[in-house]
């Protein structure tokens, strides 16, 4: 029975996923080993990863991958035994092996084919490494437990005597299946011999007191019969003698066992008691290497893998539930029925918990993404001929999984940028009194409902003047405009902006940074940049904790409901019309002794109707600053399931989505960051033209 094609396909898919995971583990182990060559745990990890790839690969037909993995695994086996030392050459070759296996897997899925010369070359490197430690053993043909198809078709006769050891059943052996298998090879009569049976009182239920003999007619050869007993050869006496061929006249359907089977038969030429195990239970069985598995490995057994589509479905449903529950709450309030109110409160509580749990399931620690970058930095700095090192912090910080997936590329680009434009060559650094090895530091942490990811390097920093000149020459800012250094730094996110005359291979043509910004904003996040010339640059990404459901503040503007993301909000204050006029267009207010600039949402959203006498400013933290947003009225908190408005409304910058309220009406969700930017830009414009 062969695996049918559907099972094979599925198996191949599972193997691809599994191999990718194992490759990740291998890479991680190698990076750890590079930093701490004395540790044994990473060697074991690397070995196990290769071992699994080899084993599973061959089962599903990935012969090239399996064969190659086998060679590398053998070398690591030798490292485990101490025959080969961990060396930079070994690590480098192993990292290349990792890449090769990855490319072989991708070639199988339709990616570009792998040049056989590359495989040969790498194998050569490994042979050089294992050198005197001996030839890596070639993967032998799998041990076949069924015998070669019998060459003979003529019927033969065998006299068989099977005498199991008394304790044979102690290791789970069952006699019946063995006898059944033996008899299925041909035809004959099987006889159990009971002469060794003790009296009942002396009988041990788990001991075997019987033995069997038979004369079997079969067209197989002796080895096939022996194979039946392959697992028990050490635990029994098996006598096998081939008798003369079947002769018509002698067809032994007799009930009497024929004479050749007498107990004292002439010494069967092929009889043998399997020699006592050559290695008598060796007291020095291979000692297990002291396994101090790090605790995070134990956790792995308690996890279940769930396809992310299933999770997405669950989150969607929870979102719908939250919406329905909000309507229920509103209805209960209107009906003013006490029982219904109680029930709707209960449901609200449960829904909230369900929502939190569902959101939590999608949270994944960012640490594994960070670790991938260590390799990137190592390889890149080698290529660029400078020395740089990546350090990380806060890897246990959790983010929504889809967000992590979408952050990978922007982060890569930012890091590449640091290495390419930020970190100076070692000699230059030393001249400036900096350590020769540049530092790129990745950190992640939670702060007030957001996740902050920062990339900091200790390179040459940004030159504000240079940026200004470039921006002016490109017409991005009017000449002579007063922009703070931070605002100038922010210009690098503008499309088509690049101060490096020479476009390098790695970072490209300044296309990168604006794409980074857009990607982050697509995640409803924001990018900030700060720098100190000569000292370094820090880029900070501020991201929401989750994409799908947020807590929002419901406000009213010009009679219509809008939602502001609650996480940023600090407080609400009243603004009388007098106060607004008094500030004379400068749009600042005094909030508890502090000056807070504010944005007129009516203006920003172009709702120019009569202003109510009293308005409210919702003070929120946006991009590290406190900014007020002026609304007509604050209604209250509202759990918001964010629904996208769809492609046709993509161009609406100030709106990040919409939500359905309890009464069924739709409220737009405002993007506070965008609103602030928009207001700043128009303020800059107004300032230049004089006071509006």
């Amino acid at each position: 029975m062969e695996l049918n094609s559907e099972a094979l396909e599925q198996g191949r898919k599972i193997f691809q996923e599994e191999a990718t995971e194992k490759l990740s583990e291998l890479e991680e182990a190698l990076m750890t080993l590079e930093e701490s060559p004395g540790e044994s745990e990473p060697i074991d990890q690397a070995f196990r990863a290769l071992h699994t790839i080899k084993g599973s690969g061959s089962m599903f037909g990935f012969d090239r991958v399996s064969g190659f993995a086998h060679q590398v695994e053998t070398v690591f086996d030798q490292v485990r035994d101490g025959d080969i030392a961990v060396s930079p050459e070994l690590i480098q070759a192993s990292l290349l092996a990792h890449d090769l296996i990855r490319d072989l897997l991708s070639a199988d899925q339709g990616g570009s084919p792998v040049d056989p010369a590359r495989v040969e070359e790498l194998l050569g490197r490994f042979s050089a490494i294992s050198g005197a430690a001996g030839e890596p053993d070639a993967p032998a043909a799998p041990r076949v437990t069924e015998t070669e198809p019998g060459e003979t078709h003529e019927l033969r006769r065998y006299a068989i005597r099977f005498e199991p050891d008394r304790k044979i059943m102690a290791n789970g052996t069952k006699i019946a299946p063995l006898l059944r298998e033996m008899m299925s090879l041909g035809s004959g009569q099987l006889e159990a011999q009971t002469d060794s049976l003790p009296l009942l009182e002396a009988m041990q239920p788990e001991d075997c007191y019987l033995w069997w003999k038979t004369e079997l007619q079969a067209d197989c050869d002796a080895n096939e019969i022996r194979d039946v007993f392959i697992f028990v050869e050490d635990d029994c006496k098996l006598d096998l003698e081939e008798l003369g061929p079947v002769i018509e006249a002698e067809t032994p359907q007799a009930t009497q066992p024929s004479s050749p089977l007498s107990d004292e038969a002439a010494q069967p030429t092929t009889a043998q008691k399997a020699p006592p195990s050559p290695a008598q239970p060796a007291p020095q069985a291979v000692p297990q290497p002291p396994q101090t598995a790090p605790s995070h490995k134990l956790e792995a057994a308690a996890n279940i893998k769930v396809g992310s589509e299933k999770l997405d479905q669950l989150v969607d449903l929870v979102g719908e539930l939250v919406t329905a529950q909000a309507r229920l709450t509103e209805l209960a309030a209107r009906e003013a029925d006490p029982e219904m109110l109680t029930l709707s409160e209960e449901i609200e509580r449960l829904t909230g918990e369900l929502r939190d749990t569902a959101m939590n399931m999608r949270m994944v620690a960012i640490g594994s993404t960070f670790n991938r970058f260590k390799r990137l930095v190592r390889d890149l700095s080698a290529k660029l001929d400078q020395k740089a090192q990546l350090t990380t912090e806060g890897g246990e910080t959790e983010l929504d999984k889809s967000m992590i997936d979408r952050l990978a590329d922007p982060l890569v680009h930012i890091i590449r940028n640091s290495l390419d434009h930020g970190i100076e060559p070692p000699e230059q650094r030393e001249r400036e009194g900096k350590p020769a090895v540049g530092q790129v530091h990745l950190s992640a942490r939670h702060a007030a409902g957001s996740v902050l990811i920062s990339i900091r390097d200790d390179g040459r920093g940004l030159d504000a003047e240079k940026l200004r000149k470039k921006a002016e020459s490109r017409g991005l800012i009017p000449p002579g405009s007063e922009l703070t250094p931070r605002e100038l730094y922010g210009l690098i996110f503008h499309p088509g902006f690049s101060t490096k005359e020479q476009v390098t291979n790695l970072s490209g043509r300044g296309v990168g940074m604006d794409v980074v910004k857009r990607s982050v904003e697509a995640l409803r996040g924001a990018v900030e940049i700060d720098s100190q010339p000569g000292k370094g640059t820090e880029i900070t990404l501020r991201l929401p904790l989750t994409l799908a459901i947020i807590d929002g503040l419901l406000v009213r503007l010009d009679g219509a409901p809008y939602v502001l993301p609650l996480s940023s909000i600090e407080e609400c204050v009243e603004l009388s019309r007098n106060e607004i006029e008094a500030s004379r267009g400068r749009n600042v207010a005094m909030v508890r002794g502090e000056i807070v600039p504010y944005v007129h949402l009516r203006q920003a959203l172009k709702l120019h109707h009569d202003l109510p006498p009293i308005q409210h400013a919702v003070v929120a933290e946006v991009e590290g600053r406190r900014i007020g947003f002026v609304v007509d009225e604050v209604i209250g908190g509202h759990q918001t399931v964010i629904k996208s408005l769809g492609r046709y409304f993509d161009h609406l910058k100030n709106v990040s989505g919409a939500t359905v309220l309890g009464d069924g009406s739709v409220a737009l969700i405002l993007d506070l960051n965008r609103l602030v930017q928009g207001a700043e830009l128009s303020a800059a414009g107004r300032n230049l033209e004089g006071e509006a």
Partner: protein, 120 residues
């Protein structure tokens, strides 16, 4: 047939293949990802045969075999080790720990069935 087989392997693809092969032949298949998981599963249900890889994190195959032989319910349950060519010494060690038989990776579905039929 209704006999229940527990397959223990940290590789999802091996488990999938074993599961498919054996359930196709009418067996009820349980899966475990490593030794501790396996021990937990046999507490819950009676098992007629255990198929285990040797190289697993947490508790490896040999330790699992010993643990199974020490448990009342599984003392006499047939246990098959999954080994590779390079692990001849493991086979011996496994036997001493109490394994009933072995099968060498990589194996084909029919080889797996042949071994299982030998023991059940």
């Amino acid at each position: 047939m209704g006999k229940r087989i527990l397959t223990v392997d940290d590789s999802a693809s091996v488990r999938q293949m074993v599961n498919f092969t054996l359930s196709g032949a009418g067996f009820d298949v349980l899966e475990a990802t490593d030794g501790s998981d396996a021990l937990a599963k046999v507490q819950g249900q009676a098992v007629d045969l255990v198929l285990t890889d040797l190289n697993m994190p947490n508790m490896n195959g040999i330790e699992l075999i010993r643990a199974l032989r020490a448990e009342g319910d599984t003392r006499l349950t047939p246990i098959v080790m999954l080994t590779t060519e390079s692990q001849a010494d493991k086979k011996q060690e496994g036997k001493e720990a109490g394994a009933t038989g072995w099968i060498v990776k990589p194996f084909k579905p029919e080889q797996l069935l042949a071994v299982v039929n030998k023991l059940l």
